[in-house]
Amino acid sequence: MMAFDLVPLFPELFLAVTGMAHLIIGVWRGNHSTHFIFWASAATYVAAALILMGVSWGDAIVLNGMFKFDNFAGFMKLIILLGLLASAALSVKYLDDEGVSRFEYPVLMTFAGIGMMLMVSANNLLALYMALELQSLSLYVLAAFRRGSLQSAEAGVKYFSLGALSSGMILFGISLIYGYTGTLDYGTLSATLLPMQSIPVGITFGLVFLLAGLAFKISAVPFHMWTPDVYQGAPTSVTAFFAIVPKIAAMGLIMRLLFEPFAPVSGQWDQIVWFLSAASMMVGAFAAIVQENIKRLLAYSSIGNMGYALIGIAAVSSTGAGAVVLYLLIYLIMTSGVFAVVLSMRRNGKAVENISDLAGLSQTQPMLAYTMAILMFSMSGIPPMAGFFGKLVIFQAAVDAQMYVLAVLGVVTSVVAAYYYLRIIKVMFFDTPAPAFDGALPFARRAVLTLSVVFVLGFVLRPSLAIVIAKNAAGALFAG
């Protein structure tokens, strides 16, 4: 019997309690309080991050082995809170402009955030499923948040039905694993799997179902079909949220799952991850070329980026895991910046979403154009931007693990992907200007954009700092 210790859960508990308090304020004061609740939620994320840094970062397994806190969980949670903060800051003005500013939005974001933070700490297949559902359910509602719009409703329904399908697959996989090993606990699982001479086919089967379901959540090919439609249909601020945070949590969950309980059977899953990675990179690169809608383009870009991140997992090494963590951090910061620009694409009070709408931005709004150009260079991995280092460490890990095919494929698809990132720059700088966008950027959006660009440009000054932190965090997965 383990001690009943809630200290490692303090950040989540804090978020849950404040989230409910915000809901009460919202119900009491109506939609006038949306702004207040947004900023209160943002403050809550900062406070939760401070609490997180305050609790002891030693390894702790509490609540009957359901919840595990270690360096990896701590660092991933910090990234998740950063992403929540960024997407809250990006959302406020956009929802106002679109006239869908309702107080439930930040509350749902907070609950999704709790789910994500619990996902990276899950130490039991049951806890994994519950945390995943908490996150997904909040996201389904957010996708359909603009009720009046058919597209948003379609996005919500599509996301919900495919999400339910993937949850079913995950549950079926878990039931097979439970059936063949008699346990749901990560620690017991790895202890059971380790001495096995031959792995029963049922366990492999369960693992395949589990991975397929989780691949839905990170939209890895061939489970990516929902992504472009949902990204396009959901309100843009929700798209930003989807692109920025949940995938990081899902990657964290997959990493813990594969590197801790299923580490002894890595031979069973590394080919799956290999395939997911290769296919995601290819589809992400080639399918994005023909996109005209920038939200769809970013959807394919996120598919491709998950492919790169998966290389680090396929490498099955501490270096690879560190590279994934670093890559996710850089991806989060770049994507926040890009969406700050996309959310500012408004003309005559209406949001526009086509790449051609960016034409001649360098003449109408030069600052916006230059920041977008920097972010696009970074996304395509051109040195000395941060995006380059993210890809560098990933490919390095692949080469260290002698996965030359995947590394070469990664480089080739990066080159292909560079085409569409650079095309945006070309449209902005060399095409005949389209009418200017409305007004100046609101403060919060400008802040996110500035910080993102500063990070992207400044990363080169001290790259070792983030690389070492990420590596230490990921090292926790391989400690046991």
Partner: protein
């Protein structure tokens, strides 16, 4: 022993038959009724296994709530099931192929069903503490202690579901006349009634 076997075959047989009828009968209301019959038989099977708590939950939750909800939806929404079926026929071949592949794979998996010797301890571990207790007592012992984390998490999930349902469906319509008891009570005759003296013969 023989009664148990007979009960099993009776329940399993009716369950399979009603499951088949759920998807084949034309009238959707009959479908739902067969579904309810199926749930009852499944509950019976759980009782045979000695899992009386799950059996009761199955009846309460699935028959009591879910199936009745289905019945409401079927009867109250104007869904033309014949139209829904029309398009579905073209997907039957691919569905059969995928189903067959999945079935053969599952047969492969379950045909080698057997526990690795390493899992013996895992299987024994959860039952030791609960010798001689009924299902309900055993569950009650762990639900709020060992499993407090997923239990509370389930609470949060339901909470989010509730918020979601309200967000997506609640509309505040302007111009709806609502009764406000306080206003009604505070109303005085002098606020709304005006008594005028009308002179005789001056009316139009």
């Amino acid at each position: 022993m023989i009664i148990e076997a007979l009960a099993f075959y009776a329940l399993a047989g009716i369950l399979t038959l009603s499951a088949l009828l759920v998807i084949t009968v034309r009238n959707p209301v009959h479908s739902v009724l067969f579904l309810i019959l199926g749930f009852f038989n499944a509950a019976g099977l759980f009782v045979l296994l000695g899992a009386e708590f799950i059996a009761m939950i199955l009846v309460i939750v699935y028959v009591g709530a879910v199936a009745v909800l289905f019945l409401f939806v079927v009867m109250m929404l104007d869904v033309s099931f014949a139209d829904l079926r029309k398009g579905a026929m073209q997907y039957v071949p691919i569905g059969l192929v995928i189903g067959a592949i999945l079935l053969s794979e599952l047969i492969l998996v379950y045909s080698v069903w057997g526990f690795a010797p390493e899992t013996l301890d895992n299987r024994a571990a959860p039952v030791e503490k609960f010798e001689g207790l009924t299902n309900t007592e055993a569950l009650g012992n762990v639900l709020y202690t060992d499993y407090i984390f997923p239990f509370q998490l389930a609470g949060l999930i339901l909470f989010v579901a509730m918020i979601g349902a309200i967000v997506l469906t609640h509309r505040s319509r302007p111009g709806v006349r609502k009764q406000s008891v306080a206003d009604q009570q505070a109303r005085k005759a002098s606020d709304v009634l005006e008594i005028r003296k009308v002179q005789t013969g001056s009316g139009a």
